[in-house]
Amino acid sequence: MDNKNAAVKMRNISKSFGTVKANDKIWLDIYRGEILALLGENGSGKTTLMNMLSGIYFPDEGEIFIDDKEVVIRSPKDALNLGIGMIHQHFKLVDVLTATENIILGLEGKGKLDLKSAAKKIREICDAYGFDVDPDQHIYEMSVSQKQTVEIVKVLYRGADILILDEPTAVLTPQETDKLFAVLRNMRDAGKAIVIITHKMHEVEDLSDRVAVLRHGQFIGDMPTKDTNAQEMTNMMVGHAVELNIDRPDPVDPKPRVEVKNLTVRSIDGIVKLDDVSFTANSGEILGIAGISGCGQKELLEAIAGLQPTESGSISYIKDDGSREELLGKDPLSIADLGVVLSFVPEDRLGMGLVANMDLGDNMMLRSFRKGKSVFTDRKSPRKLAENVVDELDVVTPGISTPVRRLSGGNVQKVLVGREIASAPTVLLTAYAVRGLDINSSYTIYDLINRQKQKGVAVIYVGEDLDVLLELCDRILVLCGGKVSGIVPGRGAKKREVGMMMTKLGGEKADE
């Protein structure tokens, strides 16, 4: 790094939300021609800090300098005028508009829209950096990675030369991630300043030139990426030494528990979501399910849990004594009546898993409110359970009477997983159990899942981070467009190979 002046200097930046100090006197420098990785656990204030740079939030105190000139950023417009563009974790795009309309949104210019010349300029930007965007396509017709591309083009179209990306790879396949990284490197070489917020250590090591670490809203330190390693960075983020390897105890006495045969599911619109899927999940084993998002993972789990109408096939639950129960065509209540204890940790935690406005105790009650004889519900035992979950899983909450929507993502997930495993399940279904969670919370969840596995539970783990799937699961089933692309043993599987299977049926070798 030559001695250039910082493009952005943030000095003494503080921001509070109510009583929570999200950012506390942060110093940060961002340079042109450099990719800076901003690291920190959930709630450490990374996104808040960047939101202040992009004008979404206004700092309570502190100064921001752009090219050594002090600036005041009151709104996203101010930020754009200063050349700062942010690509948010949740895309800021209007679904019913086309790519072009989204890109020129909010820009000043002639009253009448000139979509043609805008589309031309967009194509020029795409050619310059190697993007692939159809300016006339509607956003709702696009894949996640296309949407992200539109976001990046949008920022470039506005002439931004300081780009902030908030967890850009959370929703991408490995191949799409590689493509994104290539583009980011192109932009860095073209002299732009790039900040990337991510949880994934291997991406930090792979892509960034410098890392800066935040913890609990405070700036901990920064250093060139090549002088550090994943272990050191994680320790800085968490504040104490953390074991970075995911445990993978050997399967405990694996016996077939759930047998899925020739399962076919169609969505309401008649689109085939699962096509002739067959596999067996064993007790005491973690079966990972990999695939690009929307390849039938959700439908598969919901079919097993009795939430998804199916077209054909069978799902049998095999009891310890070898007798079989058919789960297909039953709703969750009748499945429970069979004496099958199924736990489901859905993808949509606050939509399907928990009721956001209810407190911890009442959320525990969602599983037990039918118990008891009188018309009055038993409120005591769920509260007790909530207290146990809070204690055992270290849920950070002011108390069990706090609505779950006030908890951070990691704590919400702990509450949900805690409730689900409290019913002593024999089958545990989890969908994206660590999505949006930081390293520390993620490891707590892995740990919980492993403990269930050792108790002889058949765990089905739908995940998106291939590195984790490869480290955690005993076997990995790869879905591709609703079909089984293959099942590989978790030990010794190659990331590349699984990635290939996700995008092409069977990958290089097709086996069961």
Partner: protein
């Protein structure tokens, strides 16, 4: 034989208040504000026009045509603007629930209208519970002088007062602005996803305020048209009926497109009065059933649109939701 030449103008005259209300509500809803106060606002627009006209008729010995139009129109616009501002202050600035606010505004608006309407009726010492402003009404409903010479064509297309044509022109302009201009694009973005619009540097609150207030003023003209032209300047309490709700149904019927609303409003107007043209004889209940038609077709359109699931035909995604930038 069904008399289309006499039916069509009546359908149009029924449709014009709905078109004003519908266009106003479309602009409002495009900004993400679901203003259920529209019936109240149209009512207030009507009574404000009546108050303006009443005071002018009382004070001037001889009516000047320009003032006879300008004074009621301005007071109507002012009254509905105030209602729009009140709605915005509650829902945008204070982020109150839009449905509750809207319904309260409707009750409030009708209450205001009936209060002032009743007071004016008292003032005039009339025998009947209504105020007649026939002089003002004559100016409002003046049609082109040569319309009568053009036979059925004149009767069907040229026999209306200037407000009816304004309604169509306003709807066409609105359609153009929403579809083709930068302001329209920004407005659509505000209604679809305020956070996106905000991040793109659009002042969300400003757009919501302006769209809702402009929409309210346009809707208020619907009330004015109803009293001054359709009802020949006769105001009686509660005569406006359920036209305000029909205007909101019209928005759904025309899938948020003002240009479609022009045709749809005439259709609605027609359906609203078709019972008068269908011989029902003594079977009065048949009439009541026919009066349901506009609502019935709205439900059918809702069903069809939901079944087709085309994104462009759906309501603005953030309709009814308050926006706060720093929400976590």
């Amino acid at each position: 034989m069904f008399d289309i030449v006499s039916f069509f103008p009546r359908a149009v005259m029924q449709g014009v208040p709905l078109l004003f209300g519908g266009t106003g509500e479309i602009i409002t809803e495009k900004s993400g504000n679901l203003n259920l106060g529209i019936p109240g606002i149209m009512y207030v627009g009507g009574i404000c026009g009546v108050i303006g006209a009443f005071l002018y008729e009382q004070s001037a010995a001889e009516l000047n045509s320009f003032l006879a139009v300008a004074i009621p129109t301005l007071s109507c616009l002012l009254g509905s603007l105030l209602m729009g501002l009140l709605y915005c202050f509650l829902t945008v600035t204070l982020r109150a629930n839009q449905n509750v606010t809207g319904l309260a505004m409707t009750t409030f608006g009708i209450g205001i209208g009936n209060f002032f309407g009743g007071s004016l009726i008292k003032l005039t010492d009339a025998e009947v519970p209504s105020i007649a402003l026939s002089a003002t009404s004559k100016v409002f409903s003046k049609s082109l002088p040569f319309a009568d010479n053009l036979g059925w064509f004149g009767k069907m297309f040229l026999s209306y007062g200037f407000l009816a044509y304004s309604a169509v022109i306003i709807a066409l302009i609105t359609a153009y602005v929403i579809k083709k201009t930068r302001v329209g694009l920004n407005l659509r973005a505000v209604g679809e996803s305020p956070a996106t619009a905000d991040a793109a540097g659009i002042n969300v609150n400003k757009y919501k305020y302006i769209a809702t207030c402009v929409g309210s003023m346009i809707a208020g003209l619907g009330g004015l048209y109803y009293v001054m032209d359709y009802a020949c300047g006769v105001w009686s309490n509660d005569a406006f009926g359920d036209r305000g709700w029909l205007a909101i149904a019209l928005v759904i019927f025309s899938i948020w497109r003002p240009n479609l609303a022009i045709i749809a409003s005439i259709l609605f107007g027609g359906l609203y009065i078709v019972y008068l043209y269908i011989p029902a004889g003594t079977q009065l209940y048949m009439m009541e059933l026919y009066k349901m038609l506009p609502y019935l077709v709205t439900i059918i359109v809702l069903v069809v649109v939901s079944m087709r699931k085309k994104r462009e035909n759906e309501p603005p995604a953030a309709l009814g939701l308050a926006y706060f930038r720093e929400e976590r």
